[in-house]
């Protein structure tokens, strides 16, 4: 546990040592702020039945953040250590591979959630100016953040995997971006395929990220979805672990 915490703290601190961390935070804040502006204008103009959090997902800014920020967050994790050689100093200390993967992933997800903190401010503003407590109840807000967390987990685990298999940060970012876009496109495909199709549509429905996020935004937590995200995250982390271990059987 001491090793996990020590590693995790360093990984988390490393985001703030370089300018990259601040750039990511600034970019996410900018994009989520833009999303908020769009949301506010559309709330002002038309009559919407959707909840505020739901609106938030329907703007494409959320997906932009998810697709762009996660590769940048995770690209450094393994690729930089391998490129600079510190991977060797790290792996010759009495740490086990699982601790390393877990610490790096945990640091990434904590940092990712931190970049979303400014959106709490947006919610506060909405609450303050609408005077409607039911517009933002704990359920929908909690659901929304759970959704952010779970999609973040999945995309960050993809990024971890990409970083573990590459030697350069650039390659790592590109691989995880491609993986992320593919996953995202599957969700898009799931939306397009008519419900009449048989098992294909059923299988694809697991990947329909939009619908799932919509559910979360409305405060509906479907256990199947939660299991899907958690399972996929663990799957990619498991692959990452295998890649890290692979140097011992090569």
């Amino acid at each position: 546990m001491q090793i996990f915490l020590t590693l995790m703290r360093r990984e988390l601190a490393a985001f703030f040592f370089s300018i990259t961390g601040y750039v990511i935070i600034a970019a996410v804040t900018l994009l989520s702020g833009l999303g908020f502006v769009v949301l506010m204008t559309s709330l002002g103009n038309d009559h919407f039945t959707a909840t505020v959090t739901e609106m938030f997902y329907s703007t494409f800014f959320f997906w932009l953040i998810l697709l762009l920020a996660t590769p940048v967050i995770t690209m450094r994790l393994f690729a930089l250590e391998k490129a600079s050689g510190t991977f060797e100093t790290l792996m010759t200390t009495p740490v086990n591979d699982l601790q390393v993967v877990a610490a790096k992933f945990t640091a990434a997800i904590i940092f990712y959630m931190m970049t979303w903190l400014p959106t709490l401010g947006c919610l506060f503003i909405v609450r303050h100016f609408t005077n409607q407590s039911d517009a933002l109840d704990a359920g929908t807000v909690g659901g929304m953040y759970l959704g952010i967390f779970l999609t973040g987990c999945l995309f960050l685990s993809l990024g971890c995997f990409a970083s573990a298999i590459s030697q350069s940060q650039m390659a790592s970012a590109m691989i995880s971006f491609v993986l992320g876009v593919s996953l995202f496109s599957l969700g898009y495909l799931a939306k397009q395929i008519p419900a009449t199709a048989q098992w294909q549509a059923h299988a694809l429905s697991y990947f329909s990220l939009f619908d799932q996020m919509n559910d979360f935004a409305r405060g509906v937590v479907d256990t199947r979805t939660v299991f899907f995200y958690a399972g996929a995250t663990f799957f990619f982390l498991f692959l990452t672990l295998r890649v890290v271990e692979s140097r011992r059987w090569k």
Binding site: I3, T92, R247, R248
Partner: protein
Amino acid sequence: MIEVSNLTKRYTGRTAVSDISFSVARGEIVGLLGPNGAGKSTTMRILSTFLPATSGTVRVAGFDVFYDSVEVRRRIGFMPENNPLYPEMRVREYLKFRARLKGLGWRRSRERVATVMEQCGLTDVSRRIIGQLSKGYKQRVGLADALVHEPDLIILDEPTIGLDPNQIRSVRQLIKSLAEKHTVLISTHILPEAEMMCSRMLIMYGGKILAADTPENLQKLMQGSSRIVAEIDAPAEELREAWSLMPGVEHFDVSAGADNFQRCALTPRDGYDLRPAIFMLARERGWMLRELTGSRHSLEDIYVQVTKPNEEEEN
């Protein structure tokens, strides 16, 4: 402390280390000497559990590097080639992080970090960012990291590479001072360095250990075939004739040097010291002699020397 038997490491299409065996006793400083690509770093990486061996067994402090790798890692301090560090961290912070990673308690790690910083002369720069330190200081940070958990065995891969002479001297001093408490394995391609620091040297070439002995014995091995260089102002023909007549000259080479001087490289037969004979010859014939040196053996000569019999056997 280290027992290596029949260790082989193959990368795809290339054998980096082939069937080597050696052992290192507790308290020894052993130098792994060899040119680039000789398999030194690969051997060290296997010893430090970073890479698995293709075949053969390696035991450190009685533990197998593959099956008990965590136990081995607890007992070694490894500084890889080029000394990779996290450039964005501060010296004390980095050492503290490494100490914690190596399982030291909070209090103990603070004590040890203070001790190794003192030992490695880092106290003045403890709050500086590693990336901004000079190479000599960085190297000391790497050493301090290898020492921080008081390992039984310290493995240093080219610890003095890229340092200036003063820094090399201080790093050497430091390594020598470790001998009392630790077993040290260092790799280098600089012969005098190994001579100065090590109680025993293993010479590696092409993935094999060609010679393993104390520096003194290796020097003796070389004595027989040292080379003499003489610069003499005389006609080249006469010089050639003189050398071919001189007893004890096995091989000679005369080439034109600057200002009419001829540069003669002479290889003596075993046991002959040609220098007095050359001086007498020059005096007798009235030739001007301006240089007479017995060239010191470079590491390359040792390789040539030790690889020779093997090649003949193979042919």
